[in-house]
């Protein structure tokens, strides 16, 4: 897959995931309001609010990773790099791309393992509803996969832009 195609896929999935997380977040708000309202007015809670909310939070927490990456929200320390020559910045960008791909593969592979294990063991939450955890773990897997695709694609784009500028400088 070309980097351009990769980043288009990343962009679309990032948007879809971000909106899904947003819907979950609104659901979390409504669920809590219903639970507290029921408890205060009729002494009747929504059974399993904590179970459901906790799993919703796992999805909300990470589904937005890819869109946060593409919007440049993730934090990094730029102080040192600004002082380097373009050639060195190209090297650093390549190092970052390799590191991202490396840790990305490791984490996505590990998350898949965690997902399969949750399915195998029939893992559930520990409160009253005993909800299966695998859907949340599937969301984690997908979120991190999309995030690393987006991050690597973005880094490769930056690398290319840097090298283009380098060539232009050399031709000048």
């Amino acid at each position: 897959m070309s980097a351009g195609r990769l980043s288009r896929v990343a962009r679309v999935s990032a948007t879809v995931f971000g909106l899904t997380a947003g819907v979950f977040l609104l659901a979390l708000v409504l669920l809590t309001v219903a639970d507290v309202g029921g408890r205060s007015l009729w002494n009747q809670s929504v059974l399993g609010t904590v179970d459901i909310s906790t799993l919703l939070l796992v999805a909300i927490a990470f589904l937005g990773l890819a869109s946060a990456e593409l919007d440049g929200r993730h934090v990094s320390v730029a102080m040192l790099e600004e002082r380097l020559s373009r050639k060195r910045r190209v090297v650093l960008s390549a190092v970052r791309a390799v590191l991202l791909a490396g840790i990305g593969l490791l984490l996505v592979w590990g998350l898949a393992d965690v997902l399969f294990s949750a399915v195998d063991r029939g893992e559930t939450t520990n409160d009253i509803l005993r909800l299966p955890t695998w859907p949340a773990k599937l969301v984690l897997f997908v979120s991190f996969a999309a995030f690393f695709v987006a991050a690597v694609a973005k880094e490769i784009q930056e690398l290319r832009a840097l090298r283009r500028n380098q060539d232009q400088e050399a031709n000048r």
């Binding site: 909300i60 102080m79 190092v95 590990g110």
Partner: protein
């Protein structure tokens, strides 16, 4: 500590700093450095398990639902132009003072922090809107960064505070007393920060007076009026008060726990956004708000996940235990030991968030310092205060990172330079708490008498 542990520690710290230096994601740098450390100490199986289980175990925590909910509430309030209304009013009221808008932001942080108890959520929410208002009013981005990052730390002292509760749990100190004990020092910190804002803004103005025509708001006490004074949006300010009353009122009238109250705040903000937006734009304004809130949330949780892996490595290495033992072995005077213990917390804050720091440090420091005769409640407030300071001290502090995520143009260097005066204010506060322990213990012991 074995040679291997020592080697692992050096490798991990060097690796982490190197990764930061090559502009790698901070969250992933923490994760990668921690991962390598765990490989060295426990082998690759344990390392891979640690990293793979961390995202779920970080986020599968009901009490953390407060993070996305308050972020959402903040984003909705901004998009409903409420924050702007609040700042305009506060700036108008405080305009005779230098740095009036920054003071308005500080009051915003204090109110917000009082409800959330989360540094990170406060900073994430206040960062964008405060910075825009403060810069528009003619102050530098450094002041904005300083006041927002430092303002975030207020939430942990002013109750409700998750961090103070956790201190109580790991040390067996009375949780109710701890929460009351946080009030005095919290207000004292607000006062110290306000003085800092006035001093910094005054010096800023002396150096570079605001050029006429660029400032949107009035910031100075001179006779120069702004070109277009902000139109006061009193309805907007009223709605802001409503959100505050809904989220804090549900707690104080016993309707909801602080965690649950966050949902009410977000719900109120959502309704107000709908009231203040024309129906054809409803969908797009909700969509924009939730996407922004979800992005900020993801960034925050990735940091927490990385910190989680790093925390696991630190706990495994026993590095903190070794440090404390070294202090004990030196056989020093009580106040010197206290000082050293507190100073030792600061580098921990390079890598850890407030909660992890308390979970690792409090069980170590509490027995030693109580053994030296210090009051456990007072100690708790002091340790939590310093742990929060660690979140804003350079070269690495969680609050500064989160701020930089919301306001990318600020740059970490400038952010930390902006924070320095507030660290000075914090040092003064800590000194006062040591000299006058009654500031801490007055309320709890009054309540139990």
């Amino acid at each position: 500590m074995t040679t291997m542990t020592l080697i692992a520690l050096v490798v991990v710290v060097v690796l982490f700093l190197t990764l930061l230096a090559i502009r790698f994601h901070v969250g992933l740098s923490l994760m990668l450095a921690g991962l390598v450390g765990v490989v060295l100490l426990r082998g690759s199986d344990a390392a891979v398990s640690t990293v793979s289980n961390q995202p779920f175990s970080t986020a599968a925590d009901y009490s953390l639902t407060i993070v996305p909910l308050f972020i959402l509430m903040g984003v909705l309030a901004v998009n409903a132009r409420l924050a702007q209304a609040g700042f305009d009013l506060a700036s108008r009221v405080l305009r005779k003072l230098p740095g009036g808008t920054a003071l308005a932001s500080l009051s915003g942080s204090a109110l917000f922090a009082a409800v959330t108890g989360s540094s990170v959520a406060t900073v994430a929410t206040m960062a964008r809107v405060s910075t825009d208002a403060i810069v528009k009013a003619g102050n530098g981005i450094r002041l904005a960064a300083g006041v927002v990052c430092a303002g975030g730390t207020l939430g942990v002292l002013i109750p409700p505070s998750i961090v103070l509760v956790l201190y109580g749990v790991v040390t067996d100190e009375n949780i109710g007393h701890l929460l009351l004990a946080g009030i005095g020092p919290g207000l004292l910190t607000v006062l110290a920060y306000a003085v800092t804002v006035v001093v910094v803004a005054t010096r800023e103005r002396r150096r570079a007076p605001v050029p006429a025509g660029t400032a949107g708001g009035a910031v100075d006490g001179s006779d120069r009026e702004p070109v277009t004074p902000p139109k006061l949006d009193l309805t907007g300010f009223g709605f802001l008060v409503v959100i505050f009353l809904v989220s804090i009122g549900t707690i104080y009238f016993g309707v909801a726990t602080p965690t649950e109250a966050a949902s009410f705040g977000a719900m109120a903000a959502l309704v107000i956004l709908l009231i203040r937006t024309r129906p054809p734009r409803w969908l797009s304004s909700i969509k924009n708000s939730i996407v922004e809130a979800v992005g900020l949330t993801a960034m925050t949780f990735l940091l927490m996940t990385g910190a989680g892996v790093f925390t696991y490595f630190l706990a495994l290495s026993g590095a903190s235990t070794a440090l404390v033992n070294a202090v004990l072995a030196a056989d020093l005077a009580p106040y010197l030991v206290l000082g050293l213990c507190l100073v030792l917390l600061l580098p921990l804050g390079m890598f850890l968030d407030g909660i992890s720091m308390i979970l690792i440090a409090a069980p170590l420091l509490h027995p030693i310092l109580v053994g030296y005769g210090f009051d456990g409640i007072w100690l708790g407030v002091l340790i939590v205060k310093v742990a929060e300071m660690a979140l804003i001290t350079p070269p690495v502090g969680m609050n500064a990172f989160v701020y930089s995520g919301s306001v990318p143009e600020a740059g970490l260097g400038r952010i930390f330079r902006g924070i320095v005066p507030f660290i000075v204010a914090d040092i003064v506060v800590v000194a006062l708490l040591v000299l006058l322990p009654d500031i801490v213990t007055f309320l709890p012991y009054l309540s139990s008498a």
